[in-house]
C-alpha cells in the first residue's frame, strides 16, 4: 500500500471520528431546546457533552488539517469552491462554541434563551451543510482543468445534496437522542428517546430515498455497496433496539450507521477525492492532488505516534465523565 492510500484511509478515519463524535454533539444541540424549557434540565442536556464537545470538534479541524497536509489541492479546491457554505458554517460554529461556554455566565432567562437558540442553529447548520457537502462529493461538481470550481453556492444546493443534508440532520438527531438516553435520567431521558424515535423514522425514510437515488445519480455504489448495506442494516437495528428499550445497543447501531455511511462515501470515491462533473480527467485523486512523498512520509510518522495517544486520552476523558447526569441544581456544574 502506498503512502497516498494510507493517507486516504487516515482522512477517512478522521471523518469517521468527526461524524461519529460531532454527530451526537450536533444531535444533542438540535434536540436541546425541545426537550425542556426548564433551565436545570437544559443545563443537564448541555453537560452531557460539556466536557467533550471541544475535543470532538478537533476531529473536524484535524480532518481539515490532514486534507491540507496530505492533499493540498483537495483542501484548496474544496474550501475555495464551497466558500459561502463554509462562511455560514464557520459563523454557526462560532455561535455554538461560544454558546456552550457563555450561556451560564448570566443568570438571565433572555440571555440563556438566546444562547439556547444559538446552540440549536449552531448544531443544525453544520450538520446540514456537511451533509450537503458530502452529497456534492458523491455526485461530483464542476471542477475545471485548473482544479477550480467557479459555480458558487447555488449549484451546490441541488436536490440530491440537500437530501443528503437532511439525512445527516435526521441521523445525527437520532444519534444524539440515543446518546442522551444513556447520559440522562428519568423523564428527560424518556423525552429524548421519544424525539429520537421520531428522528429515526425520518432518518430511515430519507436514507432509503437517498440510497436509491445514489444508485442512479452516482457511481459510489460500485465500490461502496457493502458498507451501504451494512449502514442500512445498522440503521434498522437502531430503531428496533430503541423501541425495545436497549439504549446502549441503539446508540451503538446509530454509531455504526454513521461509520458505515462514511466508509461508503470514501470507499465509493477511492481513489478519487473530488469528482469533476465536467471531465473525468479533471478529477482530483489521491495522486494528482497529493503532497510530495517526503512530506507524506513525515506526516505518516507523526500520525502513527500521536493518533493513538489522542485516542487514549480522549477515551479516558469519557471514562472520567461516565455515568448519568441529574438535572439537579446541587450537582450540576455550570
Amino acid at each position: 500500500m502506498d503512502l497516498n492510500t494510507i493517507w486516504f484511509i487516515l482522512v477517512t478515519i478522521l471523518f469517521i471520528g468527526f461524524f461519529f463524535l460531532e454527530g451526537f454533539d450536533y444531535g444533542v444541540g438540535i434536540l436541546m431546546p425541545f426537550l425542556s424549557k426548564e433551565d436545570n434540565e437544559r443545563r443537564a442536556v448541555i453537560n452531557t457533552i460539556g466536557p467533550h464537545w471541544d475535543g470532538n470538534e478537533v476531529w473536524m479541524i484535524t480532518a481539515g488539517g490532514a486534507l491540507f497536509a496530505a492533499f493540498p489541492h483537495v483542501y484548496a479546491t474544496l474550501f475555495s469552491g464551497f466558500y459561502l457554505a463554509l462562511v455560514l458554517m464557520l459563523a454557526a460554529l462560532i455561535l455554538r462554541g461560544l454558546a456552550f461556554e457563555y450561556r451560564s455566565l448570566r443568570d438571565d432567562p433572555v440571555w440563556r434563551n438566546r444562547w439556547d437558540w444559538a446552540i440549536f442553529t449552531g448544531s443544525l447548520v453544520p450538520a446540514l451543510l456537511w451533509g450537503v457537502t458530502v452529497g456534492n462529493l458523491m455526485r461530483g461538481f464542476a471542477i475545471d482543468a485548473d482544479m477550480n470550481y467557479w459555480g458558487g453556492l447555488f449549484p451546490l444546493l441541488n436536490t440530491y445534496s440537500l437530501l443528503a443534508g437532511f439525512v445527516f440532520v435526521a441521523l445525527f438527531t437520532a444519534h444524539g437522542a440515543n446518546f442522551l438516553a444513556l447520559k440522562l435520567e428519568g423523564d428527560l431521558a424518556e423525552r429524548a428517546k421519544k424525539f429520537g424515535f421520531q428522528a429515526w423514522i425520518v432518518a430511515t425514510v430519507l436514507a432509503v430515498l437517498f440510497l436509491i437515488w445514489t444508485f442512479f445519480e452516482t457511481n459510489i455504489m460500485a465500490q461502496g455497496l457493502i458498507p451501504a448495506l451494512l449502514a442500512a442494516v445498522a440503521l434498522l437495528l437502531a430503531g428496533w433496539y430503541a423501541k425495545s428499550g436497549k439504549d446502549g445497543l441503539a446508540f451503538i447501531m446509530t454509531s455504526l450507521t454513521i461509520v458505515f455511511t462514511t466508509i461508503m462515501v470514501f470507499a465509493g470515491l477511492f481513489p478519487r477525492i473530488l469528482i469533476s462533473s465536467i471531465d473525468a480527467a479533471y478529477t482530483l485523486n489521491i495522486y494528482n492532488a497529493s503532497a510530495s512523498p517526503y512530506s507524506l512520509k513525515v506526516m505518516t510518522i507523526v500520525a502513527a505516534i500521536f493518533v493513538p495517544v489522542v485516542l487514549v486520552y480522549q477515551i479516558w476523558t469519557y471514562k472520567v465523565f461516565s455515568g448519568r447526569i441529574k438535572a439537579d441544581p446541587e450537582t450540576l456544574i455550570y
Binding site: 475535543g55 497536509a69 484548496a76 462562511v87 462560532i94
Partner: protein, 449 residues
Amino acid sequence: MNPLSLARWQFAVVTIYHFFYVPLTLGLAIFIAIIETKYVRTGDEMYKKMAKFWGKIFLINFAIGVVTGIVQEFQFGMNWSEYSRFMGDIFGAPLAIEALLAFYMESTFIGLWVFGWDKLTKKQHLAAAWMVAIGSNLSALWILIANSFMQNPVGYTIDPETGRVLMSDFAALVFNPNVMIQFPHVLTSGVALAGFVVMAFSAWHLLRKHEVTFFLRSFRMAAFYALVGSVLVGTIGHFQGQYLVEQQPMKMAVSEAHWNTEDPASLSLFTIGNWEQTEDVFSIRIPALLSFMTYNRPYGEIKGINELQEEFEQTYGPGDYVPPVALNYWSFRTMIGAGGAMILLAFLGVLWSKDGKFDGKKELYLKAMVYAAALPYLAVSTGWILTETGRWPWIVYGLQKIEDAVSPNVPAWNVAFSLAIMTVIYTIFTIVAYKLAIKYGTGEIEVSH
C-alpha cells in the same frame, strides 16, 4: 474593491481579532497551572480559589480564541487557494501537527479541568492544568513554524514541473532560525500580557479594599510574572531586530523609516516621510544609534529602503517592493513604547506590592494599572501588523507574492459578504466577552457557577 484587497482586509480583521485572545490563553494557562501547583504543594485553599477565579477569565477568553481559530485554519483554503496549492507541501504539515498534537490536547484537557474538580484527584487535576498550558503553547509553536517559513523559507526545493514548493528537510523547517526567535517572543509576550490582565483586575479590587489578601497575592504573583515576561520579550525582540536586518532587511528599514544606506546609520525618533516613501519631510534622528542597536558597535552599514528597492528590482524584476512605511514605522514604535512602559510598570508592581500598602502615589499607580492592560494588547497587535505587512509584497518571502496567492474563483461579493459577517460577529462577541470578563473579573471571588 477587488477580491484581493477584500481578502487581505479579511485576513487582517480575523487574524488581529484572533490574536486578541491567543496571548492571554498562552500566558494565563501557565499562570493558572503555577497557582494550582502551589495549591497542590501547600494545600492552601486560597490558591484553589485563585485558580478558579482566574480560570473563569481564562475560559471566557479561551472559548472565543478557539472558535475564531477555526476560521484561521479554514481561510487559507477559502481565500488563499493558490497559496494553499503552492505551499501545501510545507504549510499543511505543521498545521495538521498543530491540530493533532496541540488542539486535541488543550481542548480535551480543558474539559477535564472545568468539569473535573470533583472527579479527579488533586494531582490529576493539576496535570490537566499543565496539559492545557503545554497544549496551547505547543499550538503557538507549530503555527509559528508554519509562519516562519513565510518569513524565512528553509528546507525546501522548487518542483521543476509545477513551480511549487516541496518539503525537503522537515528538521530544517522545525528548527528554522526564525522559529527560535519568534516563538520565545510570542510565548513571553503572552506571559507579560497575562500578568498585566491579572494585575488590572487585582488593582481594581485593591483600590476598593475588596478581598485584599486574595488580590494582593494575585497582584504580586502577576507583577513578577509580567516583569519576567516583559523583560524577556524586550530582550528577545532586540535580537529579533538584529536578525531581521540580515534576514528581511526591507522590513527593518521600513520599520525605522531608514531611507538610504548609511554607515554609521542613525536611529529615527520621530519621522514624517513623503507620500512616495522615499525620503524625510521631517525627522529627528540620533546619529549612529541604529548601527549600534544592530551590531553592538557605533558603526556598520545598514541598507536603506531606496537601495533595497533597487536590489529587489534587480533580483525579482521591476515592481514596488516597499511595504507601507508609515504603518510599519508607527507600529514598531507603538510596540516598543508599550513594551518599555510595561517593563517599568511591572517593575514598580514588584517593588510596591511588597508591603501591600498602596497609598499616595502608589494609589495613583494602582489606578493606572487598571488601564495598563491595554498596553500589551496594543503591543501584540502592532507586532503582528509589523510582522505581516512588513513582508509586503511577499506572502512567502522571495517565493510568492500576495497577489498570486488569492483564490481566483471566489468573487468579490463573496469576500465582501464574509468580511461583513465576520467583522460584525467578531465585534459583537468581542464586546460580549469583554463585558463578561469585566463582570467576573470585578465580581466576587467565589461564585456558585
